[in-house]
Amino acid sequence: MTVSQHRLVMPHAPGELILPTYAKPEPGNHPPLDFPPYKSTGLRHPTKALVLLPHRLTEVTGPLLGDDLITMQDADLTTGHAGEPQGQRIIVFGQVRDSGGKPVPDTLIEIWQTNAAGRYRHSREHHPAPLDPNFDGVGRAITDQGGRYRFITIQPGSYPWGNHYNAWRPAHIHFSLFGRAFTQRLVTQMYFPGDPLLPLDPIYNSVPDEKARQRMIAAFSIEDTQPEWALAYRFDIVLRGREASIFEDEGHDH
């Protein structure tokens, strides 16, 4: 928590620009950009020192996308085709919050994943597993006023990749979130509890802090599992929040 002494003692001139600052991640929360066990990082990470970008107007705002881009059906990946996709039907739901614990409403979530056999629907995909004509593997949803979202999809499969000998990705669902500000943009992956491939996966293990890694693993929920229909997994997502300022504490609206 950072409270600026300057802000405590200096009255604001009318029209002065007061902007929030978004909290920095804790050390070890995000992966390093250069991570040799994940070979493709080698030529794709910046090598020179990053330059500090203070949070000003462009950074504290961000695209508010949604209502004109998606329909309710976009959150159900099992419909929209002639038949139902192969695989175990699952519900993936959760809440998007910021690091201050506040729900993040009205924000676009995009997901993408393999089909039940571990194959993406993509022309560059060479994994010799069957495509499913009833599954595209792409979904979109907007969080509600409580920051909540819910997808219906199928359990994705594992697939081999060329990073090292006998490399297999653990089953995962990709998540992309915008939050409410440019600073909050996040792309991550949701994993499944108990997956034996997790300890072997360089992408999962690129996150230095073990507890941070575990925040990417969804929790199975028998309470939300629908009898005779679908298993449920809860995946809450936490985006950067604003550092506390004296003005917010006093209830000023800015």
């Binding site: 794709r44 330059v51 500090l52 970008l53 462009t58 614990g101 993509h122």
Partner: protein, 189 residues
């Protein structure tokens, strides 16, 4: 502060093919009066194109405003739909991308300073475990660029990597080098 963040992970190889939407590269429709087209290539440390990347842009309107409730200067006169400000472009087989937009206005930076017109850029691809953030500045704004508080923190010899290059009528080039002698300046957000 309360909760710990969900970690970042790579978009992987298929994001750029699966998630672009029809109007992604068009912040404004083609043919909009005053529209500029920013073209560029995303290149790796060997100078090879990154063909599975995704470029996202976020910027102010030409008036220097955001249709966003956290702009403390208040609502935009024409409302939320006046200027979307967001672009998303996949890179092609040769690493190329294109964004069609309007040049943003300058912005108050606080403390009496002014930020030169700029576009914030997020770069994603397979092999990137987190996004890389850079900014596009404009070549026809030498005075504003010289007074910009962000550019003031950039080593002189690297400033050139942040300023788009004129490439014809209404056309600007902004190549993104992840590494190498011309490595683009990336920011710690």
């Amino acid at each position: 502060m309360g909760e710990l963040l969900t970690p970042s992970q790579t978009v992987g190889p298929y994001f750029s093919m699966r998630l672009p939407w029809d109007q992604g590269p068009y912040v404004v429709p083609a043919g909009t009066p005053g529209a500029i087209t920013i073209i560029g290539r995303l290149l790796d440390g060997a100078g090879d194109p990154i063909p599975d990347g995704l470029i996202e842009t976020w910027q102010a309107s030409p008036e220097g405003r955001f249709a966003h409730p956290d702009d403390p200067r208040g609502p935009v006169p024409d409302g939320d739909k006046a200027f979307r400000g967001f672009g998303r472009a996949p890179t092609g087989h040769d690493g190329s991308f294109k964004i069609v937009t309007l040049k943003p206005g300058a912005l108050p930076a606080g403390d009496g300073q002014v930020e030169a017109p700029h576009i914030d850029v997020s770069v994603f691809s397979r092999g990137m475990l987190d996004r890389s953030v850079t900014r596009i500045y404009f070549p026809d704004e030498p005075e504003a660029n010289a007074a910009d508080p962000v550019l003031a923190q950039v080593p002189d010899e690297r400033l050139v990597t942040l300023i788009a290059v004129p490439a014809g009528d209404g056309l600007l080039r902004f190549d993104i080098h992840m590494q190498g002698p011309a490595e683009t300046v990336f920011f710690d957000l």
